[in-house]
Amino acid sequence: MTDATNSGAQAPKTSLIAHDARTKKRNSAEKRFRAYGVTAIGIGLFFLTVLFYSILKSGLPAFTTTVLSVEFTMTQEQYDEAEGTMLKTAKYQGFFNDGLAAQLAETGVEVEYDAKTIERIAGKTGNLIRAHYQENPNTIGSPVTFDLPTSSRVNRYINGEFTKDEVEDSRFLEAADLDLVDVMLASGTIRTVFDWNFITGKDSGVDNPGGAGIGASVIGSFFMMLVVLVLSLPIGVAASIYLEEFAPKNRWTDLIEVNISNLAAVPSIVFGILGLAVFIQFMHLPQSAPLVGGLVLTLMTLPTIIISTRASLKAVPPSIRDAALGIGASKMQAVFHHVLPLAMPGILTGTIIGLAQALGETAPLLLIGMVGFVAREYPEGFIQGFVEPNSAMPAQIYTWASRADAGFYEKAWGGIIVLLAFLLTMNIIAIILRRRFERRW
């Protein structure tokens, strides 16, 4: 042993200040490695940026619509005259065009156009005008501003989705019409306004992207989430309390634990198959109903809620339980009076995050028939809201994305913005809850 120690050769003394070649090489390897890490994070954040950029860029136009805004006054004589003729709406349209012409003349516009051009830009306006005066006869004789929606092609032109060169002359739109649109745009006769119909409206047919709104499917999602909340919160909390506080170590408990951790990783489409086979084929619950969607999503969300609830229960220190038991409370009382209230903020946070996950889930809804159903109507009442066919936000987005008319893509992106807004709100609530009530023991 001593031989070896004595033969220990001393390396030639080197200075610390001067770096040898090998150290330089190692240090540049170090820098490269660091750069890989920065690059990886950069790529991740780049993807995030691109994703949000394309969502916003393609989706924001869905929230606006262009209108032809004309102020004109209808006199009593004109009204009587129009009501007296055979083609009443055509007459109204004529008056409207006169009003438009007057307004354009006022702003000094000099473009050739005829009544057909106006019709291609704003559709048949007579109906709307007549309906207004029928409902509000007292406005006859005083100036009224009409905001009439422009056709979807004009809308897309204004949003920059195609140019004049791409327009093929047809009975819907001619390239020359767009000159007038440009002028009207410049003079403020055509302007862009917020489209409330997209928020509150219902789905339209396959050929009318302009009229499609997400409102009805928001309601569908709302009823689904109500089912999920009402079922998964109590069941999830009860299951967690049992597993965390009462469960003896036996095979049944182990089985439950294994099941929960595996269910959390089962692909969502399999839950869709479960919903189809059990709730629709076996129990004959109505297809496309938010109730069924809610049931399927409840089963999907339960593992998430159970896992987070158990974590919150575990975070309550045993001393609290001991204190309650020590003054003669039963185990059940200790849990329900002390542990559960202390764990509640954590439980709620977990539940909201579980709900947010469920809200965006699409695949199982495909199988229980929520896609393809055209949500043309709001449910009539509270109960109908659960059992009558409806769509849901992600299902509606999917439906729009798979329609042939490219006009629906914009609606799909817009729907995503609405969906993400809901998710963001829920997550912010969860974060606030956690910040507000988080306790460090």
């Binding site: 660091r34 039963s330 199988l367």
Partner: protein
């Protein structure tokens, strides 16, 4: 919604039982609650639970069982001749149910005279007309056997529902009376109530098992049914996927191999994107990044995990697909003509990879953080640079955990649906070109089950066999991955 009223009735009985039980307990303690074994409200709960729990249990079982029993009775009474060519007993039964429901609604709205119902020889065309007037969907002209079946279905349902009301309410009252009779000062009400709460907790926990059983049963039965109609060897070893659209034709080719190939190919592309990026991001965040960088970059990356898959699907379909075509497609920047359409393995794979980045990075982050600091110190103490320490000490030590994380990510990728439905295409092929459209197991489950096809045809049933394969595949991966990760955790705990 008469069932809602029934639920209310039971709840009211339970509430009355609660009040009486509580009062009775107090009076049995001579007005002094110190004479009671438990707090008075426990006596109330005892009564309320005894009236509610059995009643609701019977109600639920009844609601599930009744339609099944009646359906089987009615369909067994249907004559063979009532089933026309090209239809099945299942379709006829749903028509019978529709008619029966329609009749009930029409009677309520007054479009149909209830006298007609007693008359099995009624004029069917008149009845059909009346139903249509009432806004009830009646597909075709009613036939005599369907009318008869519908009438018997309706009368049995009505009888069943009446019986259910009687039984449930009787049970609720009986339970309340039972609870009340137990109520006296010495009765251990708290223990009884707590025991029943405990059973409810167990029941809630067991829902997880029920769900698994439900999944397995719904997959197994339909899969067995499928293999009776379609040879199992063709399913597992067939290299062609071409379901016929006629619905009942025997000419369908339903081989799973092209679907599995597409699934695996897309998953491999996804992992090729997610694993390096996620792993390096995790390494940087856990080993290099300052606290402030970490507190910004980590949640931002995790935003990617919170975005619903439908968003990624749309991103693939409308952004990434066209982008890839403009690079790799005909007349693209590269001048190559590799990609024909936006939907391709690459499109779905890249987007799925983006989705999985935070999944890989946060799992790896946990695992890298679990490597004890003493190992890093040991390496630094020998003069290793940080990257040498990571590459030669930290990563090898964390390897099993990272492998587990990658396996979990793979199982996610295999089970992912929306991205492939929107981004991968519908054509099943066995091809090596990643710019070609391919399809996956999940995408085909969706397409086979969302059409109007008959659920008893092999073309629809194959979806359950696909689901079974998917379930077993992901379950196996998950169990294996969790086993590895847990084993790894034990090593350093």
């Amino acid at each position: 919604m008469p069932i809602l009223w029934l639920i209310c009735a039971v709840l009211i009985i339970a509430a009355i039982g609660f009040v009486i039980g509580r009062t009775r307990a107090i009076s049995s303690g001579q007005g002094d609650i110190r004479n009671l074994h438990s707090l008075p409200s426990y006596y109330g709960w005892n009564v309320a639970l005894k009236s509610m729990v059995p009643a609701f249990f019977v109600l639920i079982v009844w609601l599930i069982a009744q339609p099944l029993i009646i359906s089987s009775v009615v369909s067994s009474n249907l004559p063979e001749t009532a089933i026309p060519e090209g239809s099945s007993a299942g379709l006829i039964m749903s028509e019978v149910q529709r008619t029966s429901n329609g009749v009930s609604a029409a009677v309520i709205s007054g479009d149909l005279d209830s006298a007609v119902l007693a008359d099995s020889a009624a004029d069917l065309s008149a009845v059909t007309e009346a139903l249509k007037n009432a806004g009830q969907i009646v597909t075709t002209e009613l036939t005599q056997p369907i009318w008869d079946a519908a009438l018997s279905y309706r009368s049995m349902s009505n009888a069943g529902t009446t019986a259910m009301w009687v039984v449930v309410i009787a049970l609720a009252i009986a339970g309340a009376v039972w609870g009340l009779r137990q109520t006296n000062a010495d009765f251990r009400a708290r223990n009884t109530v707590e025991t029943s709460i405990r059973y409810m907790l167990i029941a809630a926990a067991s829902i997880a098992i029920l769900t698994t059983v439900g999944i397995v049963l719904s997959l197994v039965f339909n899969t067995i049914e499928f293999f009776r109609l379609y040879p199992i060897t063709h399913f597992f070893f067939g290299t062609e996927w071409a379901p016929s659209f006629s619905g009942r034709g025997g000419s369908s080719e339903l081989g799973i191999l092209p679907l599995l190939w597409g699934t695996l190919y897309i998953s491999v592309v996804a992992l090729a994107v997610a694993v390096p990026i996620g792993l390096f991001a995790a390494i940087y965040l856990s080993e290099y990044a300052s606290k402030s960088v970490r507190s910004v970059a980590k949640p931002l990356l995790e935003v990617l995990a919170g975005i619903p898959t439908i968003v990624y699907g749309l991103f693939a379909l409308l952004t990434v697909g066209p982008l890839l075509v403009s690079v790799f497609g005909e007349g693209g920047y590269l001048g190559v003509d590799w990609q024909g359409g936006g939907r391709a393995v690459m499109t779905a794979g890249i987007v799925m990879g983006i989705m999985l980045i935070p999944f890989v990075s946060s799992l790896s982050d946990d695992i890298i953080n679990a490597v004890p600091q003493s190992l890093r110190d040991g390496s630094y103490g020998l003069g290793a640079t940080q990257s040498e320490t990571i590459k030669q000490v930290v990563l090898p030590a964390a390897l099993p955990g990272i492998v587990g994380a990658v396996l979990l990510a793979a199982s996610r990728a295999i089970g992912e649906t929306m991205i492939v439905v929107l981004g991968a295409g519908a054509a099943a092929r066995l091809s090596l070109n990643p710019f070609e459209a391919m399809t996956t197991v999940t995408a085909k489950i969706v397409s086979q089950l969302t059409g109007d096809s008959d659920f008893s045809s092999p073309e629809a049933l194959v979806a359950f066999a696909l689901g079974m394969t998917l379930f077993i595949l992901t379950l196996g991966l998950n169990i294996f991955a969790l086993y590895i990760v847990n084993k790894y955790r034990e090593q350093y705990d």
